[in-house]
Symmetry: C2
Subunit: 187 residues, 2 copies
C-alpha cells in the first residue's frame, strides 16, 4: 500500500481569540491549499520565543481551530531550549510554554508539542485497506538512507485525504520529501 507523503515544517494553529491578539483585525488569507481538504498555509507568520532563543517566520496554518498549538521538531526544541512532549494534534497534556509573537501582540501558554507521525485516512479507505481497529502503522521510506518509521498514528475523518505526515527531522533523516510515495506496513 503506497501513500503520498507530506513533510510538516514547524507551524502554528490558532484559536480565534489568540489570532486577534496576535494580528488584530487583519484577515487570515490563504497562500496555498494543503492536501487535507479545507486546510491551508496562510499569509501570516509569527515568531516563537523562549528564554533561550526566538525562531522567526513560523507559518500559521488555517483555518482557525478550537486550540492554539505550536508544532516543532526535536531539532527546534534543542534550539529553543525546551522539551516538548510527543503528542497527537489537539492533545496538549504536558505541552511546553512558549511565547507566540505577532505584529499586534503576544500569547504565552503551554501549547508547544512535537507532533506524532500520523496517517490521515477516511473511514472508507480504512475499510478498503483493512486498517479498522488498527491504532498505528509503520511507514517505509526507500532512499540512500532507507528508514522504517514506527508509531505512525491513524487519524480518521470523513473529510481526510490519504496522506502520511512526518516532521522535518524524520523527513531529512530519511531523505524524504513532500510528494514522495511511501509504503505503509502493518504491525
Amino acid at each position: 500500500m503506497e501513500v503520498i507523503l507530506g513533510i510538516s515544517n514547524r507551524h502554528v494553529h490558532l484559536t480565534e481569540d489568540d489570532y486577534h491578539i496576535l494580528f488584530g483585525d487583519e484577515e487570515l488569507g490563504v497562500v496555498k491549499e494543503l492536501v487535507q481538504p479545507g486546510q491551508f498555509s496562510s499569509d501570516k507568520k509569527v515568531s516563537i520565543k523562549t528564554e533561550k532563543r526566538t525562531i522567526d517566520n513560523v507559518r500559521v496554518l488555517g483555518p482557525l481551530r478550537s486550540y492554539t498549538q505550536v508544532e516543532i521538531s526535536k531539532t527546534d526544541s534543542f534550539s529553543l531550549g525546551i522539551n516538548p512532549p510527543v503528542r497527537n494534534s489537539g492533545d496538549l497534556d504536558g505541552a511546553e510554554i512558549v511565547t507566540i509573537v505577532g505584529p499586534n501582540g503576544e500569547v504565552s501558554k503551554p501549547c508547544c508539542i512535537i507532533a506524532n507521525r500520523h496517517l490521515h485516512i477516511s473511514p472508507k479507505q480504512r475499510e478498503t485497506f483493512d486498517l479498522v481497529g488498527v491504532e498505528k502503522v509503520k511507514v517505509k521510506i526507500n532512499s540512500e538512507k532507507t528508514t522504517i518509521f514506527e508509531d505512525v498514528f491513524i487519524k480518521e475523518d470523513p473529510n481526510f485525504t490519504l496522506e502520511v505526515h512526518l516532521d522535518t527531522d524524520d523527513g531529512n533523516g530519511s531523505l524524504a520529501k513532500t510528494g514522495d510515495m511511501v509504503e505503509i506496513i502493518r504491525y
Copy 2:
C-alpha cells in the same frame, strides 16, 4: 545485539596543510576524547560558508587526517543551500564545495558530505557477532518514535570500539541520544 550510540553533530576533519591555513601555528588541543580510540573533539571551531548562509561554531575533530571533510546533516544542507551526497567518510566523490573559515584564513574545496549511518567494529567483534562478509546492518531505536534505520554501513578497523554513529537528523527524529543502547538487526 545491543550497541552504544553516538550522535554526530556537524563537524570538520582537516589535513595538516588546511589546518595551518585556517589556524596558523596554533596547536590543535584536545577538549574531549571520543569513543573511538585516538579521536577527539578539539578546541578549534570554524565557520562553514556558502553563497546562501554561514553556520558558525562547527567543531574540528582531531587528529588531523589525510583529507579535509565537512560532515553536515540534510537539515544543515537546506540551510546552506547545497545538496551534498551521502558518503562514507573519506569518499568525497561528488562532494559539495563549501568555504571553511578559520581565524587565520579560508579554504574552499569540494569536501562537504552527509555521512552514511555506520557501525564501528573491530575484526574480532565482527567475527563474534557473525557479521563477516556483511556490508551493512539495520539499527532499531526504541522510543515514542520508534525507528529502524537501514543502510548502516560496517566500518572495520582493529582500533575501533563497537559504536553506531547516526547524524542529528536521525537522532532527533527517533528521539535518540548519545550513550543510548540500540539494537543491531541483520538484513
